[in-house]
Symmetry: C2
Subunit: 369 residues, 2 copies
Amino acid sequence: MKDVYVVGGALHPAGRHYDKNIDDLAAAVLDKAIADAQADIEALFLASSTAELGNKQQLLGVYVLESLGLDKIPVFRIENGDGSGGAAVVAAYHALRAGEYNCVAVVGVDKPNDVLSNQQQDIYATTLDTHFERYFGFTPLSYAALMAKMYLKKYEYKYEDLARWAVLMHAHGAGNPYAYFRRPVKLEDAVNSEVVSEPLRLYDVGPLADGAAAAVLCNNKKKDGPRILSVTTSTNAVGFNARNEYDVLYSLEEAARSALKKAGVTPRDIAAAEVHDSFSIFGALALEGLGIVKRGGALAALREGDLPVNLSGGFKARGNILGATGVYQVVELAWQLMGREFKRVEGNYGVVHSMGGVDRVSTVIVVGL
Amino acid sequence: MKDVYVVGGALHPAGRHYDKNIDDLAAAVLDKAIADAQADIEALFLASSTAELGNKQQLLGVYVLESLGLDKIPVFRIENGDGSGGAAVVAAYHALRAGEYNCVAVVGVDKPNDVLSNQQQDIYATTLDTHFERYFGFTPLSYAALMAKMYLKKYEYKYEDLARWAVLMHAHGAGNPYAYFRRPVKLEDAVNSEVVSEPLRLYDVGPLADGAAAAVLCNNKKKDGPRILSVTTSTNAVGFNARNEYDVLYSLEEAARSALKKAGVTPRDIAAAEVHDSFSIFGALALEGLGIVKRGGALAALREGDLPVNLSGGFKARGNILGATGVYQVVELAWQLMGREFKRVEGNYGVVHSMGGVDRVSTVIVVGL
């Protein structure tokens, strides 16, 4: 099988982009990523979570190609909810490993701010089971709150311990030119922010943001980009009512174990991780799911020191760009390892965690320089 | 690279299934296909076009797995509009060729009858460009009518020549136990049916139907199923206003040329084809796009004799199950080649044409016994 490298990339600043359509955002980063890679692409894998419900568009990739004049390029749209970005990287990786193409682009795009806030939440909730969860008013936020409550109680943490996540994310995001929020915040501001779903407060929620990211992946090493060492996607097909614990990301644990094993990398080797912290509690649980800290140990580790997690600023500071986020994470991690537009991390291995729904599907991508 | 075989399959009868949810339809065929293949699956590739807009569900595959108790199976949802089914087979093929899995399932499902007819048409039209086509009232039907008008005029056919498509499809569909309509129709009934978009009449339109199909694909030959010899996906990224001709399926021509070449198969070798005839004119244009007849020759060939195309009954008689159709077609073709639940075709090679939007993306899959 052929090796796969991250040969080029581009990020659109996260934010509210009322002046651009969803295909404009995607086309802009795709164009930049192709120029960055200095390679022709032979296929496009497009990740989006809200293209239909938010933007009334199927087949989005074709219209992105049309605006760039790229005729005949095959297109595959991947939807794994807010984990679409990671899944699209995996689909592209499969095609390159099989030698079907030499270079392909993966574009992640979502534009939640095209609809009002209450509609955004309803669309986001379609990642839950529509008959048994969304229909009864559950949302990703309400599940996250439930999980946070159980976690804090079980391991005897104070809310303040959880609030440190936002402080760390904002400290990291301040150095990311593509982040939605680029300013540090104080612990007391996080602790005193309004409650949105007890015990979660405003600073525990990654803001939904418009954005797009693109990576060009090739199965020959043209430039100095890192190699994708392994990928694994796993699902949690156990309903909330039947789970053993409510403070474990099972889909991540399974994907991480397999992906790290295939890559021959241990949690100790991980120099940087970009994890799916759509809500602060998921950031803590993701550290545990990846095996970087033991179960229950994430917030203690956070209290004790600076963690090399979400140097992008994570969902809290970079923003939650839904199905696009996984592609952001891959490009961010590649650039962190290369010391490009980010401070160079000390070490050669990094992991991406891209999740769809509340612990329903997780993709782990292990990258090495 | 590893070879890929169609090892098992299952089809849900097309129709109006008010008593079942979309995930019920998908779970039922997935369960049957796994039993048929007598193989464990290691990943699920789920194709759907309308899961979000029609059924308010992202991440549909996870909930299908949940209802079967299949935990930890990775899931990838592929959306290429009404061409999702073919694209999902391609994504699965890539993964198997790369040796990432030994056996995977491809499930196609859509349930258009969960919404009213006018809403169905609006959802279907989101496969068009939402800013420049759908917004101004274009629909797949209106484009098909435009293309039919130009084709009939250019090649001096009468409407009656086009109406023969429906007669042939109903003749074939009468032998398909999974078809929506299983009765033959007379040419005069087709010719005298009501106009829905001049020159197209009711019998030129494949009825939107609820349904699901599943194929189990493996990269080792466990049973006597046919091999997937090649796959190609191509796009037409040229807007309607800028196209050279309005009676050519360019995305199909490109995909067919490439797929047949890779398989070492000529159009003359094709013993059976399942093509995307969502409207009768597309059936004629698909025969030409595949190279089975020359441009402009499809309706003359149809007048002259029985063609081995859409032995399932096609979209007109089997039904248009949107993003699921490509998976139906692969299973139907495999069974036609094997003489299983269909009359055995004379020959060993078949092709599937799965299209998204109006000539926006086409996948061609070449299968050999």
